[in-house]
Amino acid sequence: MKFGSMQPRSLSGCVAALFVGLVLALSAHAQGNLEIDTPAISALRKTMQQRHAQLAPLYASGAVGIAADGTVSLRDAAAVPLAQRAQANAAVAAENADRAALYREIARANGHPEWEAEVRRTFAQRWLERAQPGWWVQQGTSWSRK
């Protein structure tokens, strides 16, 4: 798959939507109030789903891993062609900005901004559980291939 294309092939598009959808849905089950939906949350969800098409090949190659703190991490830039490394880094930064906003929004939408850290922890666990086999995940401080 060509990295950097915003037009996912239909399969990867479906996988992307499924992955993000599953994580969000399952997170919601983990704690009822995570199900909360606001326009801001759905906007974030939408951009994250779109970006997943760009991130999925990076997860598969091991360039980007699912970090323990609810973010994604450029853990092996060498797996990305040199000319696309800056782009991959930008995608990771943008994804992490959206994730931070998502955790804040969910906590706020619940009327408890102070829940942000808890929301982040719960999501971190779900992202990790939902990662596909072969993706790199971080537990504690060490990385391993799922």
Binding site: D37, T38, P39, A40, I41, S42, A43, L44, K46, T47, Q50, A63, L74, R75, D76, A77, A78, A79, V80, L82, A83, R85, A86, N89, A90, A93, A94, N96, A97, D98, A100, A101, L102, R104, E105, R108
Partner: protein, 722 residues
Amino acid sequence: MAGRPIRVPAPAAGHEPLRGNRFPRALVSMLVLLVLATAVPIAGAAVFRVLALQIGEISRPGLVVQELRVRLDAHEQGGELAIGRLQVGAREWRALSLRCGRLRIDDGAFACTAARVDLGGRRLPVEADVEVTLGVGPVRVVLRLADGGRIDAALQADGRFRANLHRLTSPAAAAVLEPWHAELASRLRDLEAAGVLDAELDYRLGEGGGAFAQLRGRLSGGGFGRADGLLAAEGVGAAFAFEVRATGAAWSWSAQLDWDAGAAYVHPLLVEAGPRLHARGRFDGRRIELEAAELAIDGLELATARGVFDSSTRTLEALVVELTGADLPRIGPRWLAPLLVPANAQRLRFEGRADLRAELRAGRLETLGVELRGAGFGLAPPQGGYSADGEGEAGSGANGEAELLAFGPVDGLVRWSSRGSGTAALQVGGGRWEKLALGAFALDAALEPAGLRLARVRVPVLDGALVLEDLALGWSAAGWEGSGGVVLEPVSMPSLTEALGLPGMAGVMSAALPGVRLSPGELVLDGTLAVSVFGGWLQASGLRVREPFGVASHLTGEIEARHIDLAQLTETFSFGSITGHIDADVRGLELSSWRPTAFDARIASIEGDERRRISQRAVENLSALGGGGALAVVQRSVLRLFENFGYRELGLRCRLANGVCEMGGLDAGPDSGARADGGFAIVRGGGIPALDVIGYNRRVDWSELVARLQRVVAEDVSPTID
């Protein structure tokens, strides 16, 4: 007996070693003759088979060869040359041997060709030719490497050393280096160094005994990659020249690099070929001093640097970098955006020029000075933003899209220091916030190591101004935080509505927001925004902007409107005509990308108006907004007989959540005002002729409602009534 080796004894201990440059050629010749003379009688034949020679030490400046043994096999025309200890410069190796394919010794010289080389018992992946002329002659060494590379080196008796490196590849170099300099070889391998090197090395002693070395050449297809991939290069083509000269106890050096092909990734920057570097400095064995460096790079008129690097502690003691004439449209996207705002790098636009001077001490930025000349900055809308109608993005971020925020031209100076106060004095020629043009303003700020303080900034907006007062901002890893006050000096509604593309309204807008607080992801605007409009007033309070500039940016607040003249309101929005006054309250208002996504709004007519009339068209519009569920409770024929009707009271409630407006009417509790037939009264008639407007549809799709309202207002078309 033939083949018996004959040894020339090494010089006895305490003997003066035979110094190469004073080694008498005659003595060597004599030694060899002596060997030959001795060999013949012992062999008992006309020709000897094997000859062995041993020399205690050959010494040249920078080179010491000890325990040199030469063994010549006349029959095989081969032989062996073994060195017990070899010292070049400060490094030494033991047990070096060359098994010569062909060994020739004559007249004080020996030539060993097509030799296999062993060092410390390990075979090296090279084939060597070594030619040594004892006395004043040179030592020549040719190494042929496994993959076609070749090193041609010659050491003259006067200490001059020259080496030509032909097509030297990194794996071959690492294999050759392995036994000599294992650390360097393993570093080459770890970095996955690639490329072909052609170079000339020249080393000689100067007049006063000071050494001079020069390395010049070209790297083709060069590359390397650190294991984590954050530092890497590919396809690098570069010409280079390094010179080192001993000056007293120290060295002076210069370097020239012309990088003309390939690219490198220096996290998070992609750097492409083009830069040319000239640098010179001094080296005292520990500190590398950069006296002057000049970098020619696309988008910069001039870049210079000087500094000191401590090679023993590997710290950058000091560095001063000056960039002159930076062309921001070229420098900004490539160098600034990925470093400063990687998540939004694609959304930033740069204009104008800048000069920069940065001082680093002990590896940390200490001072930074920036001068801006006609600089401009713009932030495009995020990709995939929310839109209320659910049809795609609020903005694509492509060029030509209206920017969320833009400033320029900006001129002035910024001086920041990590150890004390700094200043920023900028003249901003203008700007734009969404559809609002901002006028010219001066921005004077006191800078602190991790923050800034603005005494007062007055930004003209239309015919008013936005005034920032006592604004203090601090920077931490989480983002910007701060507090201050904002005052909106009165802006006339006619100019504001015109700028925003809204129907013209009379009145003024002003705001006093003394409690402005910024935290990561949130902007709190405590205070009141007041608008005098439609003969009454409206005020907004509890304003909060969340995720400003992000994809999920949204605004929340409360609105209270009092004594709004319906005649002016309905005329402004071409809604037909209603006379009378209303109060309105909007609680829990939430806007995403300026579109309402949640609120609880009530509108109610107020007592005291003498004439309350509602036009036929307004009745039709009101009914139509109900989506066929609302109905004017008069016969259609009757409705058409009169231009307008009297009414006693009017009330409407809409509670918006999840895209659905939950409607209510007069006495607008969710269940009060309810009629037996399930409808709710929006207008209750009074006077002659009178009519009621009854709504029946309690749940209305908000986007549908907005679309209808827009049709009614914009197209001025009378809706149909079922």
